[in-house]
């Protein structure tokens, strides 16, 4: 017999106390767009649902100089209408435009999308390419901040410590780079991406520099394709470069076969999305 219980901490410390006490039996409830389907499908055993949706101080976008801090309870809809992100962090902004559907965007939170650690999380490739950092807190370990690349451990698994809560994401704004986020799904809305890519780069004298390329759904976690980045760095933007880099990308990704696509199809998508992203970024 499955048994769920519920609590609603009034402030952050109380939330951290209950997360610490219940450890793996606690499930965080915020936007619930992953949690409720899991509950209804009985994928979750006995657990305590910890409603953090109204904790103060974890919601909103703050800019300090050329850096933005986004609270983990900020909804995707709030990110998608932010003029600051549209101008200052277009990769993340673009990913939020096509995230789920408008009804889901009104509920889903940035912290939830990352903490759920789906390889297909749409906000992960932009944040990886922007080299964002994650701020967390736990009762025993206090606050810490680390690169987002260290967050993901595997499908549905993070490197968060027991009882640790994501507080916010921090990333640089107005980088003045050419950038594009592209994704491919079986339909435009409410489709789990078969593959997604976030690309940013600068052009110096016609040559690509500061290249960042991150993929979603093409390995056990969202990840930076650093060898493909190197392959593009210092090269001119032309068909030959794109062919070489696409071949490199196809070798660098580690996709699985599942109900949505085979691994060899996804491998081809790695190259196709790189071309698309590069053309979109430089158009």
């Amino acid at each position: 017999m499955l048994h769920y219980s519920f609590c609603k901490p009034g402030h952050l410390i109380e939330a951290l106390q209950v997360l610490s006490e219940y450890g793996g039996r606690a499930r965080i409830a915020a936007g619930c767009s992953n949690l409720l389907p899991d509950l209804k499908a009985r994928h979750l055993q006995d657990c305590l649902l910890v409603d953090i949706s109204e904790l103060e101080g974890l919601r909103g976008i703050q800019a300090e100089g050329d850096w933005a801090t986004v609270g983990s309870l900020t909804t995707i809809a709030e990110l998608a209408v932010s003029p600051l992100l549209r101008e200052g962090a277009p990769l993340l902004w673009q990913a939020c435009q096509s995230f789920g559907d408008p009804l889901v965007r009104n509920r889903a939170t940035l912290g939830g999308n990352l903490g759920h650690a789906s390889p297909a999380a749409d906000t992960a490739p932009p944040l990886l390419a922007m080299e964002a950092s994650v701020a967390t807190e736990s009762l025993s370990g206090g606050r810490r901040e680390f690169p987002i690349a260290e967050l993901f451990a595997g499908p549905g698994r993070t490197n968060l410590r027991p009882g640790e809560l994501i507080l916010s994401l921090r990333f640089p704004l107005f980088q003045g780079k050419h950038e594009a986020f592209v994704k491919f799904g079986l339909r435009d809305a409410m489709a789990i991406s078969l593959a997604s890519a976030a690309l940013s780069l600068r052009l110096h004298d016609g040559l690509m520099q500061d290249v960042r390329l991150a993929y979603g759904s093409l390995a056990a976690t969202p990840f930076r394709a650093t060898r493909t980045e190197e392959c593009l760095t210092g090269m001119p933007f032309n068909e030959e470069t794109l062919s070489l880099a696409s071949a490199q990308a196809q070798g660098e990704v580690r996709p699985i076969t599942d109900v949505r696509a085979s691994s060899s199809y996804r491998r081809q998508l790695a190259g196709a999305l790189l071309r698309q992203a590069a053309r979109a970024a430089l158009s």
Binding site: G31, L39, L103, M190
Partner: protein
Amino acid sequence: MEIQSDVKVKIRVNGTAVSATVQAGDSLLDFLRNQARATDVKCGCNQGDCGTCTVIYDGKAVKSCLVLAAQADGKEVRSLRGLMEDPLMQSLQNAFVECGAVQCGFCTPGMLVASWSLLQENSNPTRGEMRQGISGNLCRCTGYKKIIDAISLAAAQHVVTDGTANLADLADRLDGQAQAKANYLLLGGG
């Protein structure tokens, strides 16, 4: 802070406060249908895909199967029934009928609430924006064209009511059947 399996909630549904005891894992949809008896809110997939359970929750259009009932304590929910006196909703309902945007009708309550929410935020959307606006709502009958036609027609009627209409511009944005209906309704036929 209490840890509860059964949670007492008080949720305002279409203007009336409903007090009930919900289970920790119940969704707002469970509460609306089984306890508040708001059966105009339909249960389709129950996993956030189909959108027929769409309601206005805390001022935003959401899928009620993706909200925990316990989380909704103290919140305000409006379903289609709670919007029936609203002039914009009435325009949408009439336009859905005019354009044949209802076939089996199962998606219709969610479609109407999502369309209403779209037009509240953007009174003059393009057809592309309308498609995006209802992209979280599945219809297996109409192929969406007639639904988009109906939203266009309702939007056009509202622009006319606002007195800001340019009929030639409006006719350009409407498509197919909606254009014929609009000509009929807006240009004096109805």
